[in-house]
Amino acid sequence: MMTLVYLMINGLQIGSIYSLVALGYSMVYGIVKLVNFAHGDVIMVGAYTTWYLVSRFSVPAWIAALVSVAVCSVLGMLIEKIAYKPLRKSGRLSLLVTAIGVSLLLQNAMQLLFSANPRMFTNIFTGTMTIGERQFSNATAATIAVSVVIMAGLTLLVKKTKIGKAMRTVSEDNETAQLMGINVNHTISFTFALGSGLAAVGAVFYCCSYSQIQPTMGSMLGLKAFVAAVLGGIGSLPGAMTGGLCIGIAESLTKGYVSSQLTDAVVFGILIVVLLVKPSGIFGRPHNEKV
């Protein structure tokens, strides 16, 4: 029984990270109908930024984390402005291919800068705590706690604030939103900044538990978070949060009870089942797909 609890705690930890990343996929998909394949690589940039600041300049970890949130937000906005905005009217396929291009560009640029060798990432949250008879690192608690706070804040932002409401209206009907006087370009930029900032937070926590970074690290993490977004219902924020936690827990349980070799298979198995059984996901709205 206690094993189950421990596995759930670990699942919540990695699941929170997936949720943070999945939120970015979902928000961006909601507003520009694009699966932003470069999103995973923004995580990687966040991880390298934190690592670089801590290991080269001995910047205090929490400052490094904040800086990488800022760096990723700006990067996300720039990617949208430079790569996606000019293609906004050119159809989804061109956008998708461009996103893959941006992803490769970021990976290769990082290899050029820091080589393809993995780098060691020292845990920011040192120390451990004991739950039952097992020890958990403080990183686990911090990941879960901070993620909960961020997700609550994000929910409030989207529900209550002016920019949050603008995001929802632009997602639903871009043209009519403009007729209301909403600057769609600003709203889209803000969404990219927000999603990328969340990815950076996810990056820092990811590094705390896996302690190793490399230029291609974003691919798998990004892909799994994308599965989480699809599971929850892409475009839906509660969906992204729930989907992330489900994937994290599924992974952890597979590791604990079956085999750690099988975790990826289980995650992508979930994707296949979702696509077969309920393609719109847990919180998805099948009827609102625009023509």
Binding site: K165, A166, T169, D173, T176, A177, N183, N288
Partner: protein
């Protein structure tokens, strides 16, 4: 107040709006009638900057707005109720109105909402409901209410009577008259020519992208050609 000169709009090689010019003066209700596909919606979208005219000029309150971005027009006092209502289905009714007043201050919106509720008691009854669950007539009222929220000088309405039962159509046109009495200038696009001409001061008849006729609404109602083509004999 609004002046359109030589508007030409293309969809690829389709020339949808051909050298159209018209004018709406302060305080007027002007209607643009024409069959399905005549180019009415295209004209409104072009005034709103969602589409662009090749050449020509669009001026509003004396200002050339031909190249303005859409979102700036609400600020100028130009409101557009799009065809098919296009309310925000996933937001609650209240939030739809709030978005209509996006460019206004919170305090202003508080007052205007009361105005809207006075015109549309049905909308008030449903203010906490998800807008997508409203009936067609209620959605149209919400769409009109939403457009009032930005305190517009000119409202362009694209087929507000579309798909509504006759009682509701009558109600919508009554409200258009009330709005106009309250000082709002109106450009009304309609296929329901009889209703539109009965409420309007002046009218333009649009045929396959061209203005075919323009006159006082009364005269158009009595015009034999118009009767035959648009008023069912």
């Amino acid at each position: 107040m609004l002046k359109v000169e030589n508007m030409n709009v293309y969809y690829g090689s389709i020339h949808a709006v051909k050298n159209v010019s018209f004018e709406v003066a302060q305080g007027e209700i002007v209607t643009l009638i024409g069959a399905n596909g005549a180019g009415k919606s295209t004209i409104l979208k072009t005034v709103s900057g969602l589409l662009r005219s090749k050449g020509g000029k669009i001026s509003f309150m004396g200002e050339d707005i031909s190249s303005y971005e859409t979102y700036k027009l609400a600020q100028k006092g130009l409101s557009h109720v799009p065809e098919g209502r296009r309310i925000f289905q996933q937001l609650v009714v209240e939030e739809n109105l709030e978005m209509g007043g996006y460019i206004q201050t919170k305090e202003k919106n508080k007052d205007t909402v009361q105005d809207v509720y006075r015109h549309f008691p049905r909308v008030k009854e449903r203010k906490r409901q998800i807008a997508g669950t409203l009936s067609g007539g209620e959605q149209q009222m919400l769409a009109l209410g939403r457009s009032m929220m930005c305190l517009p000088r000119l409202v362009m309405m694209d087929e507000p009577s579309m798909g509504l039962a006759p009682v509701l159509v009558q109600q919508i046109f009554d409200i258009i008259r009330e709005l106009n009495k309250a000082g709002v200038t109106i450009l009304l696009v309609e296929q329901n020519a009889r209703m539109a001409l009965s409420v309007a001061h002046r009218g333009y008849v649009l045929e396959t992208g061209k203005i075919a006729m323009q006159a006082d609404a009364k005269d158009l109602l009595n015009n034999n050609e118009v009767k035959k083509a648009y008023l069912g004999g």
